[in-house]
Symmetry: D2
Subunit: 286 residues, 4 copies
Amino acid sequence: MRYELGCSLSYNILSETVFIFNVEVAHLQSLEILSEALTLAPDLPRRTYVTPDLQNRYLGVVVQPGPFSLEYNATVDLTPFRADPATIGETPVNRLPLDILPFLLPSRYVSSDRLTPFAVAEFGALPKGHQRVNAICSWIHTHITYQAGTSDAETTADESLLRRAGVCRDFAHLGIAFCRALGIPARFVSAYAHGLVPSDFHAVFEAYLDGRWWLFDATRQANLDGLVRIGVGRDAAEIAFSTPFGNMQPTAMQVRIARSDGVSDAVIRTVDAISTEIPAPHAGAA
Amino acid sequence: MRYELGCSLSYNILSETVFIFNVEVAHLQSLEILSEALTLAPDLPRRTYVTPDLQNRYLGVVVQPGPFSLEYNATVDLTPFRADPATIGETPVNRLPLDILPFLLPSRYVSSDRLTPFAVAEFGALPKGHQRVNAICSWIHTHITYQAGTSDAETTADESLLRRAGVCRDFAHLGIAFCRALGIPARFVSAYAHGLVPSDFHAVFEAYLDGRWWLFDATRQANLDGLVRIGVGRDAAEIAFSTPFGNMQPTAMQVRIARSDGVSDAVIRTVDAISTEIPAPHAGAA
Amino acid sequence: MRYELGCSLSYNILSETVFIFNVEVAHLQSLEILSEALTLAPDLPRRTYVTPDLQNRYLGVVVQPGPFSLEYNATVDLTPFRADPATIGETPVNRLPLDILPFLLPSRYVSSDRLTPFAVAEFGALPKGHQRVNAICSWIHTHITYQAGTSDAETTADESLLRRAGVCRDFAHLGIAFCRALGIPARFVSAYAHGLVPSDFHAVFEAYLDGRWWLFDATRQANLDGLVRIGVGRDAAEIAFSTPFGNMQPTAMQVRIARSDGVSDAVIRTVDAISTEIPAPHAGAA
Amino acid sequence: MRYELGCSLSYNILSETVFIFNVEVAHLQSLEILSEALTLAPDLPRRTYVTPDLQNRYLGVVVQPGPFSLEYNATVDLTPFRADPATIGETPVNRLPLDILPFLLPSRYVSSDRLTPFAVAEFGALPKGHQRVNAICSWIHTHITYQAGTSDAETTADESLLRRAGVCRDFAHLGIAFCRALGIPARFVSAYAHGLVPSDFHAVFEAYLDGRWWLFDATRQANLDGLVRIGVGRDAAEIAFSTPFGNMQPTAMQVRIARSDGVSDAVIRTVDAISTEIPAPHAGAA
């Protein structure tokens, strides 16, 4: 599927500000970048960095006071790997690649250690595999209310569980926490999300099952086969779309994604299991 | 300085257990490994993994029920980089390499976001540079009591600050949290520590100053120029010396390090600033 | 029903210690004290205090170093008020007596404010009255594991909910928290509990419904009509059986209660709603 | 000293709301009420309740949708008890009246148990008595920034310590927590405060020293001899000036107090220790 996507971010800079942006689509086999352009106004020197393990693309800019904006546009072909969910089991810990293991550990927002009793009680006896992670997503979708303003930059997964409310990042953190508590590696994913209304940067998560990372969205707001990955990390702390160091005010923000292959833009939710890894699964350290 | 060091770990395995060990000394320019041997009893297949960014060495073993032990011995030449602390300033955020920036973020045990007001109030006005991080260590050493049993696997830096007590990992987490709260990248380091009594795996931290990572020990229990690094990470979650998945009991543990170069084993505390990076500083993504 | 009950508490006093004991049965209309004796060894001057509102009986003793013990025995006739649970509704806030209102507020261990979203989501739509509080107890009994050692003196109701485990005081705190979150006044009760195995001081709770305080036991371990009240308060902080100020070690503790009216001591669980207030309901400030 | 004081509170009631107000001055020997009037618009039936132990005056009103307001005015003669701070020591626990002991326990916002190590480290070695509590207030005044919007209805004393900021209720909670952690009974006080700019309901605290409750204000914003007490309790939860149950919006609020005895209204800070108990100290249960 071909998508045109991008974002426009505007700021009013009050004092010299260092920005780290993470808005460019990731370098993945399943994601061919046909064209891509990122402009800054004013135009400024850029520093770039791609994490060696996760392939996130970071852009660093130092901005002086005044108006500042970033515009990013890309055309991509997304060919996610699909499978029948019923065929996807869990990977025993003794067969997990060693470089996957950090995604079993608790992190700043993913208090999987505190949530272990809860996860074991609710999900411990369910049939294992893709269907168990899907059951976790259904539980979250049923029990947590999607509501802006119910969380902030300090909110952890256990707090969201008590508050019974959150936004997409909280839904993802809670899903990741339940997975890790059950011994399933899981990680945070930011993406351009086809079908998300209103359009915005979206947060979902991936669980590592049967040797491959699979996508899940506990908010049930986006199409799993229409998620164009930006970044992946332990939790939201690592892949904010914008991390500013300095005194500035965001003034406008727009995020967009649309089909551009002549096919109807109608949203049809897939029933397949979806992975961004094709064709070979995870080729990390065994 | 030449050291002979190592550890002996014994377990009683009750059900199949997957161990991830991180006990081998790191691959560093300042650390020449003259000889090294790691034996398992019973001898079992090993998986190994070296993190591409941080050079931590992980060893994975699947162990069946019964007694199990690991023995590691190495002889190393440690040549840390030394400098006059007074000459080491702080690196402005706009000149920090992008791959350093994750070490400014809060992590599971390093609640730097919650500790920002405290850090700014206590240390915000101090002269910047190596001396400021040293002042942080002195504050911790004065205000926090080193006491076994005062913390557990869930203890965060803000909790240690309230409890006014902790062990080496808590001292390191608090030091890291104060640094990150002040905009100084900092990370957790596990090490064989010459001069530590009684001998044990030690936890210290590194702060990124003037383009290089420098060692600090808020417990003031080890020699900065006698620390042989094992691992480095965001916090203790990432570099436990042993992460077991399964039902087992530790039965014995011994950690050792001694001078082996004919020089007196007496401990003389250096007054230099010490870095394990030689001779060139950090060569990451700029 | 007639009960013989009591307790024996022994301590080794290491430095002068002030004890506040709360072990004597409360003064209630439904509880006739036929005989009662409390002895101290060594015999020491006593201070006593009965709280004007709640009728808790406190005993203060100053003890010098050495062995110390307290023995309490009483014979009581308990005649609890009984009703059909189906007939007991909730009291609207506008008809709650003003002196009841503090039992709607959060307290040290009863974090009802943090648990409000959870309580509303789980229990908000249930039919109101005794049956709703009973449903809360059933939920707790089903979802929380009774397990010694899973909580400590700092454990709050929201933490118990996450840990999915606790002891009787935690079960009571969670029940109270859910009630207060729903606008139902609730309070903590300590008692001698007929039918509790092994015998110990027990913690249950009371909810204020239809103008009267009704007993509930989320542990389902004691008979509601066999609970002989010692104290009542906002939460466990107020009615510990022993609050020592000084350096001492508990050396032995025994708690006992048995039928003494010739009737079989067999435990038959009542299906009635049980209140210790007879015959008139709460006669506080309207 | 004679004061005219009062408050005007206005609300827009959206659904039937039960209000519990605590705005009338307390009944104290040191506080003669010369005249007093409380009006409601519309005029509505009132329920009143005075707590038997603490003498707080609560007013309950049920209000239907529409505008609603309360106006309270009183003229009082305040004659606080004064003493030389240097003469006031601490009361050993073994001489504390039993009804004072609850004010040593942690409560919802006063996490004195969590703050004990901090309190002992900072204040444990200071000379005991009024001067130690005064030193606590000075420490808070120096280290905590008075700043609106830095706390909310869930903020506890330990959180305020980490945030290094709060409003008057947070200053009081922190002072109370440090006192209780040191074995000094302490309680929360709401008051009309002469000298407070801008005028508002004020929160201060009392510590029990040498057989009497003494006033302290860690914000240093009010005159200790110009505090006209409204309520007293374990913490802010118990004596909110307005506790509404229902859907309503506050629309206006005014609090006032002025000298009315012909003496200049100029504020002169007393250097005496101030207690509202005259002439005999605390006459509770011994």
